[in-house]
């Protein structure tokens, strides 16, 4: 009797378990298959270009879709991607960390409760809207005021060359990107600073440290790894942003030594040329750009996750 009962119970349970287990397993496998298929499609699309240009594609700075067969190389875009993303990070990282500090340490709760969502709202603005704003509102201001100012006062740095009239430049693209990644850095670093144990800060303050000395001596070292991870996540986001950059970067064809000249990024070139591509080789070369972007982007992102995990682990162990 007892055996029978146990039998029925476990059968009922196990059938339901099996179905649910199967369903969830199916979804999980489908997720993995999607990612594998994605990698496969992107590489497959690039195969024609890869067999034509090989690895030389990466360092070639010629991109000429019209002339007969066409000549394609990625260097201008790789350069533009790195320059704009790193410039954006240079602007957004210190400001973002400062905002995180303000929200976690300085602001009263009532203020922080209003400002935090506003910073996050900045991330919710679609890139096409930020880019459109950059094109219509920001670019003229940049070309009339910011670029001449930087050129006049810091012109000895080769990055700040002669301003152009349009304001569509690597510099404007960097500004737009910095606006887009600022909320990422700010909200992650706010969460980080909130996890620093109160006793450590109290201890430093009891020793007579000023507010800034507590930040420099306790908060920043305790969160250094987390901030590095946030910076890489933000970098990954900046590298892959296509639309907003395409709207303001000006589509330059050369490796520009000055930030005030037009350029192009991998993602932006994909967005602007894919719809009007004239040959299979051009489409394939665009896929090749995608492969490069995929490798850089996923690399930055995985490093960020890896640092964060390690950091979390050290935190828990400590």
């Amino acid at each position: 009797m007892l055996g029978r009962m146990r039998g029925t119970l476990s059968t009922k349970g196990s059938v339901g378990d099996k179905i649910l287990r199967g369903l969830t397993l199916f979804a999980a496998l489908l997720t993995i298959v999607t990612l594998v298929a994605l990698g496969f499609q992107v590489i497959k699309g690039a195969s024609l270009s890869f067999s034509t240009f090989g690895l030389g594609f990466i360092t070639d700075s010629e991109w000429n879709p019209t002339a007969g067969k066409g000549e394609f190389g990625a260097w201008v875009m790789i350069y533009g991607t790195l320059v704009t993303s790193l410039s954006a990070l240079t602007i957004a990282l210190p400001i973002g960390v400062a905002i995180g500090l303000y929200l976690a340490e300085l602001a009263r709760r009532s203020v922080s409760r209003v400002v935090s969502p506003m910073v996050e709202m900045l991330a919710a603005v679609p890139s096409v809207v930020v880019g459109f704003w950059g094109l219509i509102v920001l670019a003229p201001i940049v070309s009339k005021h910011i670029e001449p100012f930087l050129h006049d006062h810091f012109g000895f740095i080769p990055l700040f060359g002669e301003p152009q009239t349009t304001g569509l430049s690597l510099f404007t693209a960097s500004l737009i990107l910095s606006i887009m990644i600022l909320p990422i850095v700010a909200s992650i670093s706010r969460d980080l600073f909130l996890t620093v144990p109160r006793e450590m800060k109290d201890g430093a303050e009891a020793l007579g440290a000023t507010h800034w000395e507590v930040v420099r001596g306790v908060d920043l070292p305790a969160c250094a790894a987390g901030i590095a991870s946030a910076a890489l996540l933000a970098l990954g986001r900046a590298l892959g942003e296509a639309i907003a950059v395409a709207q303001v970067i000006g589509g330059g064809q050369k490796v520009a030594t000055s930030l005030f000249l037009p350029g192009d990024t991998l993602a932006s070139r994909l967005a602007t040329q894919f719809p009007g591509a004239v040959s299979n080789l051009q489409i394939s070369s665009l896929f090749y750009l995608g492969v490069i972007l995929l490798i850089i982007g996923v690399g930055a992102n995985l490093t960020a996750v890896w640092i964060a995990r390690r950091f979390d682990y050290e935190r828990k162990a400590a």
């Binding site: 339901g16 397993l25 210190p94 606006i179 600022l182 800034w212 995608g290 996750v305």
Partner: protein, 306 residues
């Protein structure tokens, strides 16, 4: 210990013994340190001000320039009459379809990693989600292009599929985090009653984290509603009329692509419409965010109260 390491100055104590009558005002090195601290505080506050000001400036530009374009005809009319009705409807259909694909898959994937998977497979799925989460969205665009658009045709369905790939890891990640927050006692209590695992999951876990899943879904939908990059590759050339069938053999008009096309077409009346479309899009997204924020507060309370 020298005076510069910031934690105290003792050099002068012997020459100037403590005078209880002197006013309590910082001087010398302490004064310098407090000034530096005040500057740092000022910089941090200014940073926060800068972010809020940027949001304000962008919102102001969109509202002040877009509000003039918006009237009933703009919201319901077709492009021939200067409206963006087909784009609004298209965006709603595409986002709803993407959500219908991504939400169940995301929740089930998350359930698998937290409730069923062994360490190794669980780690593989988590790695997959991490990688998908950081994918540049334009790459998702060329993936879907290569998968179903190349040699075929653009469609609203292709766009929905691309957006679903972007949404899936967001929903799965948040669901995982919410499931991890559910107290173990709740699970043990249910299992101690001899309830099958699947009933514990469906009857106890999912209702507990339901609010969190809903929040994540609304946020992900709001995020992809403005996603332009993948749609340029798989859902660009659309007719000027309402397209209600996502499987039709032409693209489905949608708001982000409309804004992009108008912004590229250096035409002042087009710009006016682009600002109007941007205002509509932004309004939808901000409302979704506020809804999600309200839901989030409630659902967290629910999980914590258990």
């Amino acid at each position: 210990m020298n005076a510069d390491d910031g934690l105290g100055v003792v050099d002068d104590v012997h020459e100037f013994p403590f005078d209880p009558a002197s006013p309590l005002v910082a001087s010398g090195n302490l004064r310098r340190r407090m000034i530096i601290s005040a500057i740092a505080r000022g910089v941090a506050t200014f940073g926060a001000f800068l972010a809020v000001a940027t949001l304000g400036v962008v919102l102001f530009a969109v509202i002040s320039r877009g509000i003039g374009a918006i009237d009933w005809n703009f919201i319901t009319g077709t492009p021939q009459t200067g409206g963006i009705g087909p784009s609004l409807v298209g965006t709603l259909i595409i986002v709803m379809m993407a959500t219908a694909i991504a939400a169940p898959l995301g929740v089930l994937t998350a359930l698998y990693t937290t409730e069923f998977a062994g360490d190794r497979i669980g780690a593989a799925v988590r790695l997959t989600l991490d990688m998908m989460n950081g994918l540049p969205t334009i790459i998702v665009g060329i993936f879907i292009y290569g998968l179903i658009v190349a040699g075929n045709h653009q469609s609203g369905f292709a766009a929905a599929l691309a957006l679903a790939v972007i949404m899936l890891p967001m929903i799965a990640r948040t669901t995982q985090e919410a499931l991890a927050l559910v107290p173990g006692t709740l699970r043990e209590g249910a299992e101690a009653l001899g309830v099958g695992r699947w009933r514990v999951i469906l009857g106890v876990l999912l209702p507990t984290v339901g609010g969190a899943i809903l929040t994540a879904t609304v946020l992900a939908a709001a995020r992809v509603a403005g996603e332009t990059a993948p749609q340029i590759l798989v859902n660009l050339v659309s007719p000027n009329t309402y397209v209600l069938n996502p499987f039709a053999d032409n693209a489905m008009p949608n708001v982000p692509v409309t804004i992009y096309q108008l912004s590229e077409a250096a035409d002042p009346t087009g710009f006016q419409r682009a600002w109007g479309a941007a205002l509509c899009l932004l309004t939808m997204i901000l409302i979704a965010n506020i809804v999600a924020r309200t839901l989030h507060g409630r659902s967290m309370k629910k999980i914590e109260s258990k």
